[in-house]
């Protein structure tokens, strides 16, 4: 792995060879150990590293780009030649945005830890073995992925801008199956100290045990309690749709909604760069400095995402980053929400979510890996999975309670949510 000075020198050297008047280089490095297991055994076990260099050059409004994954003179010559040849012969792009001048970057929480670099395949196998042993001892089957990664992202341009970010990440997830039901859990963090793999496996196992022998339930409208994983699964689609330009052009549900109260006043969604539990990048699109952005405040749409071009058209500031996504919650546990639910369904995880109507943001998908009936404040039985057809807009309008937010993955921290009148439309025998 090259250090910051080496990368700076490398990018400067490439820039010095570029003859186009405008140029921007993004550099990436990734080192991965990824151990995959299924049916209580490691099925795939991988290690490797890769660099990547992307060059964008422009002559006026004519631009071109190229990518290589080897830092050697022949590849770098190709990189420059391809991008310049493309740019010279391209039609003008009326939306091209030139490279930025050097920027000042905010301090962000630590996102790189050496203990991830020090991890060995054997260390990972030992962690997986604990999960597998837990499942195997009870006659259950464990599957999952332990992925250890460290990476570098750097950006330099012909205006003298240089940005550099070093990251480490661990993500560990498991699905544990019994004969008639399953449970899933995952954890992610930047350091080994932030991932409690034993607790994670225990959660998945306990869900799997509780999920055995689900009963039939009719589709219809229910009060639901989505655990944070399910909330993240569902809201991802909404978050992608929060583009200012798409809304201005009338193609999304957010058309004309800025300033309107679209959700329950409990709903607050933002991008934050100050949470040590979920570190953000220092920089975003084209090297813009990251900053906190409030998208939804007390249920009101405060802002939609502007890329640099659309921001210039609308005479507003561009939004440098969208992630990590944060959603505020309340001082409850999931158990508290269950205790406050007279009749409803507890949803652990969603699967295969797709648009049905993009304009309305109507989505369909399935429940998976833990789905339970709640009556009079208690979980009374696992139930068979159902297909939903519902909009996150309606889901967030009908919020009646939230738990404390937790980190779900590398890009989001969200609460569990209790919401009323959620629509399920069909059944399946799949468990």
């Amino acid at each position: 792995m090259r250090d910051k000075n080496e990368i700076n020198a490398l990018l400067e050297e490439i820039l010095s060879k570029v003859t186009a008047p405008q140029a921007q280089i993004t550099y990436s490095y990734e080192s991965d150990l990824a151990s995959r297991f299924g049916e209580n055994a490691i099925t795939q076990n991988m290690g490797g590293e890769e660099e990547g260099i992307r060059l964008v050059v422009a002559y006026g409004m004519k631009h071109g780009s190229s990518i290589i994954n080897r830092v050697k003179s022949e590849s770098i010559s190709n990189l420059i030649k391809w991008a310049q040849d493309i740019a010279k012969n391209s039609p003008e792009d009326p939306e091209y945005m030139p490279p930025l001048k050097p920027q000042s970057y905010p301090k962000v929480p630590q996102s790189f830890y050496d203990d991830v670099v020090a991890l060995t395949p054997l260390d990972i196998a030992k962690e997986i073995n604990k999960t597998v042993t837990l499942a195997k001892d009870k006659g259950y089957q464990a599957s999952g992925l332990f992925h250890a990664n460290y990476s570098i992202d750097a950006l330099a341009n012909s205006q003298g801008l240089f940005a550099f970010l070093k990251n480490s990440n661990l993500s560990y997830s498991t699905t544990i199956h019994g004969p008639k039901g399953s449970g899933y859990s995952s954890e992610s963090g930047e350091s080994t100290t932030q991932v409690d793999s034993e607790a994670m496996a225990k959660r998945a196992f306990e869900t799997a045990v509780a999920a055995q022998n689900p009963i039939d339930i009719e589709p219809g409208e229910y009060t639901v309690i989505f655990e944070p994983q399910a909330v993240e699964d569902f809201l991802e689609f909404m978050y992608w749709n929060m583009s200012a330009r798409d809304a201005d052009e009338g193609t999304t549900v957010f058309a004309g909604k800025v300033g309107e109260k679209l959700f329950s006043e409990k709903v607050n969604i933002s991008t934050r760069i100050d949470d040590p539990e979920l570190p953000a990048s220092q920089f975003g699109q084209d090297g813009l400095p990251a900053k906190q952005i409030i998208w939804v405040k007390d249920g009101v749409i405060e802002r939609l995402y502007h890329d640099r071009f659309w921001a210039s058209k609308k005479e507003t500031e561009p939004d440098p980053i969208r992630y990590p996504m944060f959603m505020n919650g309340e001082a409850n546990s999931i158990d508290d929400l269950v205790a406050n639910c007279k009749k409803g369904l507890l949803v652990k995880r969603l699967w295969y979510i797709r648009y049905v109507d993009r304009k309305k943001l109507l989505l369909t998908g399935m429940t998976r890996d833990g789905f339970f009936l709640i009556e009079n404040g208690k979980i009374v039985s696992p139930v068979k999975n159902l297909r939903f057809n519902e909009s996150p807009i309606v889901f967030l309008q009908n919020v009646v309670g939230m738990s404390r937010p937790i980190r779900v993955n590398q890009w989001s921290k969200v609460p569990g949510i209790m919401s009323e009148n959620f629509t399920f439309s069909s059944k399946t025998e799949s468990v």
Partner: protein
Amino acid sequence: MKEYTDLALDIAQKAGVSFADIRFVEERQNRVYVERRSIKLIDETESFGYCVRVLINGAWGFASNTHLSKDEVARTAELAITIAKASAKVPKDEPALMASEKAYVDTCKGPCGEDPFSVPNSEKAELLLDTCNTILDMPNIAMTWGLLQFIRTHRIIANSDGSYLDMTNYFANPMLSAIAVVGNESQSRDYQVGGRQAGFEYIREIDILGNAKKIAKEAVIKCNAEKCPTGVMDLVLDPDHLALTMHESVGHPTELDRILGWEANMAGRSFIKHEDVNKLRYGSEIVNFTVNNELEGGLGSWFYDDDGTKMQKFPIIKDGILISLGTTRETVPLIGWKRSNGCCRSDGFNRFPINRIPNLYMEPGTDDSVTPEDLVAGVDKGIYIEGMGSFSIDQMRNNFQFGGDMFWMIENGKKAKPLKLVTYQAQTTQFWNSCDGIAGKDYWKPHGVMNCGKGEPMQSMRMTHGSSYCRFRNINVGGAKL
């Protein structure tokens, strides 16, 4: 490359492998992408790397690298061996074993009539800009995008069986979409021809620009159309639509690794058990599916898969009965089969090859005189669906809900009026058993899928499906809350 492949395999043999391979993948890619009237991207991409895969005492190790020298190849092989020893700490009940396969020495090149990397990018950009400008000039169009993507993949695989395979394939992938806004309504319509193993001649063969106005008009028609009715009715589905339906409800559930539970954490498992082969009635008696990884232009026709297995053609559903599965050399011994049928592929040098959907298609009807119009004529009340749209299926591949890209109400045997937001819900075997009409071979059409996601870390794979027009009876339509 032979000096490197020999070195890696020699190191592996000395470590006591029961199987080892080294795979080099060199890829060139060229993309031109236009949004609205803006050229967002024209690029050229070069990628090179290799991986060493070893099976030691029934446990896998895999390591990849982009640096090529004898020292680096040796280091990569040693890392794969170290990883395999770690894998042995969480062993399988039955140590992994590779089904035997002949040793092949072969050099193969896929179809490419006109090298896409020799066609000027300016020509590609002008084609897409003209097309997108044509769409945006149409009334009520708010947004459009188009993509031309070309890939050349050169693989060299050498394995401990003695195979040495040198293979080159070209892929071409055109995409186009128009999005209309009428009042508060917004609908899209795509030009969906799918990807093909071909060069630039494929782009000249299809008519992107000529279809621009059609899709723009139909996006507007959808905005003004009535919503999907609700009820049990018949469906007539076109080949571009069925490509996705069969992908999700036939392709994935017949992958043996899913059946064995290896995909449980991500893509899920399958409602099929391997004991179902030769017993399970998957569809009606007229339903016949073929795996054909020798299909000319098929996105999955790679000559040899990443296990070094020669690719094959075989029936997988015959007269409605499931008679085979998609397999790999590691999976077949676990169900007592002798030979893999060549469905093991990876999406790059740094990814472990896994069980993937092959080229998989539905055979046309036996009566060549049957036309799509005949199928429609046999429907009192139903819906005719063109192209792919919304799609979702449960993790065991039972319950699914599909949309489409263009919809027409069928009344009294005729296409009566356009519809929008049509969805239908079914269980997999119920759906295929409801098929009672298939048009003849003149209406059979392939459709290449460029981006099938599976595995962890996620891998994206390509394969071609195909069918003629088909009719399905008594399907639940309109379950979505619109």
